[in-house]
Amino acid sequence: MLLSMSTFYQLDFEKPITDLERQIEGLEADIRRASIPAPVATPADDAPTAPATPALPTLPPVDVNELAQRVEELRALRNKTLEEIYTQLNPWQTVRVARHPKRPQTRDYIDAFCKDFTELHGDRRFGDDPAIVTGFARIGPHRVMIVGHQKGRTTQEKLACHFGCAHPEGYRKALLKMKLAEKLKLPIVTFVDTQGAYPGVGAEQRGQAEAIAFNLREMSLIRTPIVSIIIGEGGSGGALGIAIADRVAMMRNAWYSVISPEGCAAILWKQANEQTNSQAAKALNLTAADNMRLKIVDAVVEEPVGGAHREPAAAAKNLEAYILRTIPELKALDPDTLVNQRYDRFRALGSFIELPS
């Protein structure tokens, strides 16, 4: 199970990188060892009574400068390889990067660039779903409402958040806070990161489908700017339930689709395994580039080389910059124009043939 392997999580396609990093570490250790003065040699070698045991081969003298140069070369190679691997990720590899346990989540981005975050809990109907985080914050000069899926980092948090799979109360909480933002004329920023809405007995009893449907309907009419960013996983209705926005963006290594590759493989390929998951991921056109081409998203937020999990701060910087340049564009529109343009944006999506009637 990918998500539970946080400590030992390694992406197989990153093996050339880890191999190089191991070599670099080894050489660096050699350099450290070489810089420690060697113990004074005893003249034992000359002793005539030396036993018949063969003398250990003497290590060649270590040239620290040469080693350092080798390290530098390997570093350059590592960076080049990393860039090559990440610019050529296939869709299934992208999904696995999007699920990396070290990948920044909603709360990490809040910590990185949201000031004065005031978390607001609960849906005033049933409870408080920790799988969706909501609250007031400042991003740059803008006072905003934050709404985002939270997957959890520690085992305890992951279980409480159901790994980012929200219940109906999560979607209702999200809408309640968005309606509050509308009243207060605050722009709304949503961070999408879920494999899908939670499939459970309680979720069904409390109207999972109705909660999502109602969000889709009501978000389309909210009279303040909404910016949504798929920061990791964008799985189906569970993602869409907080992603009816004026601008929808995806982080470079996020995925967004009607179903997870495993779910799709299980149904259409009759089994989910590495091979079919990979085929399904490709067929689903779920990458940021695919979704741009289909006009499902309006922008791609770049990640640092090697993915957001390698340099969360750099990823956060890009995300913040995207939000900072998008909010003023939307604030410039009057509410009627804003809502009409949002309607037109979604109304135009789809692909079909229209025969002359």
Partner: protein, 284 residues
């Protein structure tokens, strides 16, 4: 673990297929999957496709549904010039293009939704019906577009809107574009709602996934045929997640009425009457 279940957190086709294999042969007789009586096909068909012994509601396609609901000769089909394209050149074990052709031949329909204006016991209405005979009534771009145009037409002509759902959910072969149909139809319903339109959503067996999580659950009134499977996630996916027995009657119409998400469970025999009564009562 929660994760493995979440990975398949949407519905699957096998969830929405009948648990027992009902081989509807072309024979004169068939076995009712509910009471297991041998029943005479003609008698079942003339009973609105319900079992004459136990009133089990057999699944019906869009053409039969329209025939049952509307006054004879009053239905005018609309948006019949829309055809599925294959925007993603989708290919699993079969290509989507092959599937479309095969389903069109099998169902004699062009996609999984039929819509038009008709009369129900003399009351004019905009009607849209999902068609289980075409790819399990799944919603791709054509279905989303027809539903949206039906909503817009109902608003323009100030007609009550009736949508009869029967669907496995969003269509995987159009991926994100299918997902966006949920947004599109729901946004159109938002406008219709604010304009004061009346929307009666009728849920039939099965209504699951992205269809339930969009227009089907947004009715001003939600009717459901008896014992229809209605849900977001499929029962098999839920069982994999919780690893316990599901409650008795879980995700069936009567249960959904008890949990508060269906206004009335209405048998097929009363559907016309109940729809007409609501249209009259609301003055739409």
């Amino acid at each position: 673990m929660a994760k493995s279940a979440a990975a398949t957190a949407t519905r699957t086709w096998s969830d929405v297929k009948s648990p027992r294999k009902v081989v509807i042969s072309e024979g004169l007789w068939l076995r009712c999957p509910s009471c297991e009586q041998m029943i005479y096909r003609k008698q079942m068909e003339s009973n609105l496709h319900c079992c004459p012994e136990c009133q089990h509601h057999f699944r019906i396609g869009a053409a039969e549904r329209i025939r049952q609901l509307t006054d004879p000769g009053t239905f005018e089909a609309m948006f019949t010039n829309l055809r599925p394209s294959d925007p993603l050149k989708f290919k699993d074990l079969k290509t989507y293009a092959e599937r479309i052709t095969a389903e069109q031949v099998k169902s004699e329909a062009t996609d999984a939704c039929q819509a038009g204006v008709g009369f129900i016991k003399g009351r004019q209405a905009m009607l849209a019906v999902l068609d289980l005979n075409f790819m399990m009534g799944s919603m791709g771009s054509v279905v989303g577009e027809i539903i949206t145009r039906a909503i817009e037409t109902a608003q323009e002509r100030e007609l009550p809107l009736i949508v009869v759902s029967a669907s496995g959910g969003a269509r995987m072969q159009e991926s994100g574009l299918s997902l966006m149909q949920m947004a599109k139809t729901s946004a159109a319903l938002a406008r219709f709602d604010r304009a004061g339109g009346l929307f009666i959503s009728v849920l039939t067996d099965p209504t699951t996934g992205g269809v339930t999580a969009s227009f089907a659950m947004l009715g001003d009134l939600i009717f459901a045929e008896p014992k229809a499977l209605i849900g977001f996630a499929g029962p098999r996916v839920i069982q994999q997640t919780i690893r316990q027995e599901l409650p008795e009657g879980f995700q069936r119409s009567e249960y959904i009425q008890d949990t508060g998400f269906v206004d009335r469970v209405v048998s097929r025999h009363n559907l016309r009457t109940e729809i007409a009564r609501v249209i009259d009562f609301t003055g739409k």
